[in-house]
């Protein structure tokens, strides 16, 4: 389409930043929300080092194979100097080797799986990690809900879900000191719509809580079916639930569903957060919630701008080095310091509950490791 005037981003008057998101396919909702955050940030801060920042958006179609091509395209054809994204850890991981071998820095926005940044000096992230998230939810289940027996339902074909379920299991068995605290584990595949079989089994084990991390669509259907089967215990999950579709599909049945997430718009932790919320509301006056992943999209872009400024150039290697040394950067979702792994050091997560069809703040859980 509208490619820039020259092929090298260094000596032209635009700086190209790739946004690598699922805009079609199963994860499109999440991808769109992140993209909105990045675009909002770009509107507010369209320039750095006196040059215009141009976003190049690539759709990875929620598909790993497409993801590699899309990432390669951003780097090799569009010559971006950095990449933001992608929603969905597996999609980010698919791009991992490509950014690494091309030495282009990338920032994962809401991808929580540890593998995204592990052993990859070019991938950074602005959100917390699954081991942390798993611990948060295990704490919530054990301490707040007082659960002794937990059932787990995981989406086996989704590494995010499997990973989170595992970290939760580890944390919960440790907390409760009961090796058999997980009374049943059910598996399903992405795209499944019928969970009655698994849920009937779970019902028979009569758990106190069900932990069911996974895609929002499947999870909403799962909760509906659980309620229809007469399962009344709390059902909790992870950050991926926080999308509008979770509520529209789940309807009355997802009332009371609890999940961990990154950001609470009613109570932004920083000044930057307040600005972000205000700008968001200005742009989308009729939206009720500010989605957490949108805030992360905003943070990713802003952190990148900060790094470019500090690097004083749009050279990918310089940007990477600047990113790696980010300390106490004030983002919308909190103060970010990048650690040796490339991850944002975060020690608190927000817990939200669905109440009256809205994601409502419940608690902030801080865990010191």
């Amino acid at each position: 389409g509208c490619s820039g005037s020259s092929t090298s981003s260094d000596n032209s008057d635009v700086i190209k930043v790739g946004v690598f998101e699922p805009l079609t396919g199963a994860n499109a909702s999440g991808g769109e929300l992140e993209l909105e955050g990045v675009q909002l940030a770009n509107q507010l801060h369209p320039e750095v080092l006196g040059k215009k920042v141009e976003l190049v958006v690539a759709d990875n179609k929620s598909d790993k194979a497409e993801a590699t091509t899309a990432a390669a395209r951003l780097i090799e054809k569009d010559k971006v100097c950095a990449i933001l994204g992608s929603w969905g850890s597996s999609l980010s991981m698919a791009a991992g080797d490509i950014v690494k071998s091309n030495k282009i820095p990338a920032i994962a926005l809401s991808a929580t799986n540890p593998q995204v940044t592990l052993g990859n000096d070019y991938y950074f992230r602005v959100c917390f990690l699954d081991p942390f998230q798993g611990t948060v939810m295990a704490n919530y289940a054990y301490k707040t809900l007082g659960a002794k027996k937990v059932a787990i339902v995981q989406e086996v074909s989704n590494d995010y879900s499997v990973g989170l379920a595992k970290f939760f299991t580890d944390a919960f068995t440790k907390l409760s000191g009961d090796a058999s605290a997980i009374v049943s584990t059910g598996n399903y595949n992405t795209g499944d719509q019928d969970f009655n079989g698994i849920l009937t089994n779970i019902k028979a084990t009569n758990p106190d809580v069900i932990f069911a991390p996974g895609n929002y669509t499947e999870s909403a259907l799962l909760i509906k079916q659980a309620r229809a089967l007469g399962i009344t215990c709390p059902i909790i999950g992870g950050d991926t639930w926080e999308t509008n579709e979770f509520i529209t599909v789940g309807g009355a049945d997802v009332e009371g569903a609890v999940m961990s997430t990154f950001f609470d718009d009613t109570n932004p932790p920083t000044e930057a957060g307040k600005t972000f919320v205000a700008e968001y509301k200005k742009l989308y006056p009729d939206r009720q919630n500010v989605p957490a992943v949108t805030a992360l999209g905003y943070d990713g872009y802003m952190m990148l701008m900060d790094a470019i400024e500090r690097a004083g150039s749009a050279d990918p290697q310089a940007i990477r080095d600047a990113l790696a040394t980010t300390t106490n950067f004030e983002g919308a979702t909190g103060v970010i310091t990048i650690n040796a792994n490339g991850d944002a050091e975060k020690n608190s997560a927000i817990v939200k509950v669905v109440k009256d069809g809205k994601f409502t703040y419940l608690d902030t859980v801080t865990i010191t490791q």
Partner: protein
């Protein structure tokens, strides 16, 4: 010895055009390998891999007439073999972080070529197991059974955590980027297919496609013939899968969903069932075409603020074009023809005569 040399000389003399063409192709690849940018290189590599897999599929579906839809599964076997055996041992514990790799495999690392060929053989081995019961089935039944097996393979890979790392997939596979691997192997596969098709074995394939009962009555063993074609196809597909893994650097079960097979089916139909050259052309057209249409996904300022160009449009246009080809070029680009020198010469002649006729009629029109 002398005899052989003579006939080799005669062979060269007879096929000098082909030989020259092959040499040119090799030179072309060499030049491309030096100068093409890395994005284009990736696309070319992908096209070559698609050629390999589509050609193997055409062997069974186009030439032997057995409607088999197991390609994705065989690719998965090849891809995972390469992934499992070439991932650096040191990285394995971080990749298999949920459940450690089975100790039996954890320390085996093979050179790429060995893993690639092993993948081919494993794939053929599985094809053998699948083929014995399945190849007795006919038409659509065979199709759904092979599709089923390919899905079963994928589901097994999703669930055998300690071998395949389950849904997490395997990343950090050492990648290839030179064009020689993919194009070299594609060339070998093309030539092997071509020679095979024009031998007695290839004719046996075709006879089974045309009429099983008559073929059997002519002494062609149905089972053996179908199996041979199925095994060769699976072997090459496995190799193609291995290259695919090495190109992407990451594998995961979802890549090998049964819809992947449809891509190859589209390619062979687009190129012409039972045409080797058609398959090759279509592989490149489809892979490069999908990329070429990508501008449709990007918002375009047309003055008006009509959001026609947005993600998804590319695939709509692509599938629409595909329908157009299916509906208007029923036999695909090449039908069952091959792009031989004669074919080109005939085409050239017919186009030329059409032009001269046109010119003649135009002149006629003038003189009136």
């Amino acid at each position: 010895m002398k005899n052989t040399q003579n006939s080799l000389g005669a062979y060269l003399k007879k096929h000098w055009k082909t030989v020259v063409f092959l040499v040119l192709v090799l030179i072309g690849i060499g030049i491309a390998d030096q100068f093409v940018n890395s994005f284009m290189r990736r696309l070319l590599n992908l096209s070559a891999i698609y050629t390999i897999v589509a050609l193997s599929m055409n062997l069974v579906n186009g030439f032997t007439g057995q409607f088999s839809l197991g390609q994705a599964g065989f690719m998965a076997i090849g891809a995972y073999t390469v992934a499992i055996f070439t991932v650096p041992v040191g990285l394995r514990s971080t990749i298999f972080y949920l459940a450690p790799m089975a100790p039996l495999l954890a320390n085996i690392q093979l050179p790429f070529v060995v893993a690639l060929i092993l993948g081919g053989f494993l794939s053929a081995g599985v094809a053998f197991l699948i083929g014995s019961p399945c190849l007795r089935l006919r038409g659509d039944y065979l199709a759904i059974a092979t599709l089923g097996f390919s899905e079963i393979i994928r589901i097994i890979f999703t669930n055998t955590q300690t071998i395949t790392n389950g849904a997490l997939g395997i990343k950090s596979i050492p990648t290839i980027s030179s064009l020689w691997w993919t194009f070299g192997i594609a060339l070998i596969v093309i030539i092997a297919c071509f020679l095979l098709i024009n031998s007695s074995y290839g004719r046996a394939f075709k006879s089974v496609r045309e009429d099983e009962i008559a073929a059997e009555a002519m002494g062609v063993s149905l089972f053996k013939t179908k199996m041979t074609s199925f095994l060769i196809s699976a072997f090459f597909t496995g190799i193609g899968g291995g290259l695919y893994a090495a190109l992407l650097g990451t594998v995961d079960p979802k890549q090998f969903y049964f819809t992947l097979t449809y891509n190859f089916l589209l390619i062979i139909v687009l190129g012409g069932m039972g045409s080797i050259s058609g398959t090759i052309i279509a592989s490149f057209v489809v892979t490069l075409g999908q990329e070429a249409l990508r501008f449709l996904d990007e918002p375009m300022a047309f003055g008006l603020d009509l959001p026609i160009f947005r993600p998804g449009l590319r695939m709509v246009v692509f599938s629409f074009l595909l329908m157009v080809v299916v509906l208007f070029y029923r036999k695909g680009l090449m039908g069952t023809n091959e792009l031989t020198w004669n074919f080109i010469a005939n085409k050239y002649r017919s186009i030329k005569s059409r032009f001269t006729k046109k010119a003649a009629s135009a002149q006629g029109g003038d003189s009136k």
